[in-house]
């Protein structure tokens, strides 16, 4: 029988934010997953959740928190910036009792503070995420008969939130993205896609699934987390 989810919350900014969990919270190792950001998160979520199920079958519980303003969160996304999300990750790790941190893609921009063993998959610069979203917006505008440029959009963002990939991002978020690079963490175990026989689901134009990648990712996280901390 496949493990059932547990519905948890963590407190941040005076709100209870949702966190999806799998597995027995009393287990010695508990992995907090910091997901990719924005549209990449949506494309990867299915694969990630299946990996969490598989991890629970290995006896390793894991947690996938909603970042403030994303998914079920009632927080206003247009006033968030990466530093807020980084603090949310710290709180989630502390309150959920995580022993390990595993982050993917843009998640590596906000995962560095907790003093726990780190694992990272395919880190990306914030400026690359931003540019891809701006280009997608320009392509969508063009199909709607509007002609925009990256410069014009960034100027527009000064006076109000910019809709990028369905997220209303304020100027503070855009500025923090433009400057953000994954911050080195001592002893961080970094893997590339080939290490886990996966596909770059986060880049896909259409959301897809990859059951084999979920299984491989769970095996990798089980092996890694057993080798350190906990």
């Amino acid at each position: 029988m496949s493990p059932a989810p547990t519905h948890l919350t963590y407190e941040f900014g005076g709100r209870q934010e949702y966190c999806l969990g799998f597995g027995d919270a009393k287990a010695p190792r508990r992995i907090l997953i910091v997901p990719p950001l924005f549209d990449e998160m949506n494309r990867v979520r299915r694969m990630l959740v299946e990996a969490m199920r598989a991890l629970a079958s290995h006896g390793v519980p894991s947690y996938l928190p909603d970042l403030p303003g994303c998914n079920e969160s009632l927080a206003d996304i247009s006033i968030q910036k990466l530093a807020d999300w980084q603090r949310a990750v710290i709180e989630a790790a502390k309150q959920l009792g995580a022993t390990h941190i595993a982050s993917l893609r843009g998640g590596t921009l906000i995962d560095h503070e907790p003093v726990l063993p780190h694992w990272r998959l395919a880190p990306v610069k914030g400026s690359s995420l931003l540019k891809a979203m701006l280009r997608t917006r320009i392509a969508a505008d063009k199909e709607a008969g509007l002609s925009t440029t990256i410069d014009a959009l960034m100027t527009q963002a000064v006076s109000g939130p910019l809709a990028l990939s369905g997220f209303h991002l304020g100027s503070a978020m855009l500025a923090s993205l433009e400057a953000a690079e994954p911050i080195a963490v001592a002893g961080c175990h970094e893997v590339v896609l080939d290490d886990i026989d996966g596909s770059a689901l986060w880049l896909r134009a259409e959301p897809q699934d990859d059951p084999a990648m979920s299984v491989a990712l769970a095996a990798e996280l089980d092996r890694w987390s057993a080798s350190c901390g906990g």
Binding site: S128, A132, R135, T136, I138, A200, L203, A205, E206
Partner: protein, 86 residues
């Protein structure tokens, strides 16, 4: 001439569009892309450009991008080569 650039372009196409290894391996200079591959729409182009910048360590000015660029695999590789060597 470096086949590394061509290999990179193949793997980017595979990653972004979800094409099989066999499908991208079979592409040659005359293989039509935009209009021939249903997976390649203008949204996917946005992702392709950014990924090419990252993996080939080039900068792409959006003004350089026109319909011709994505017409064939050969055009796309030639563009990547020009940018890499420029």
């Amino acid at each position: 001439m470096s086949d590394k650039i061509e290999d990179n372009v193949r793997s980017i196409l595979s990653d972004i569009l979800g094409l099989s290894q066999a499908q991208v391996a079979a592409m040659d200079d005359d293989t039509e892309l935009f209009g021939a591959l249903p997976e390649l729409d203008s949204m996917a182009v946005a992702g392709l450009l950014t990924e090419m910048e990252d993996r080939l360590d080039i900068m792409i000015d959006d003004d350089d991008v026109d319909g011709e660029l994505f017409a064939t695999f050969g055009n796309l590789v030639a563009f990547a080569r020009t940018k890499s060597e420029g």
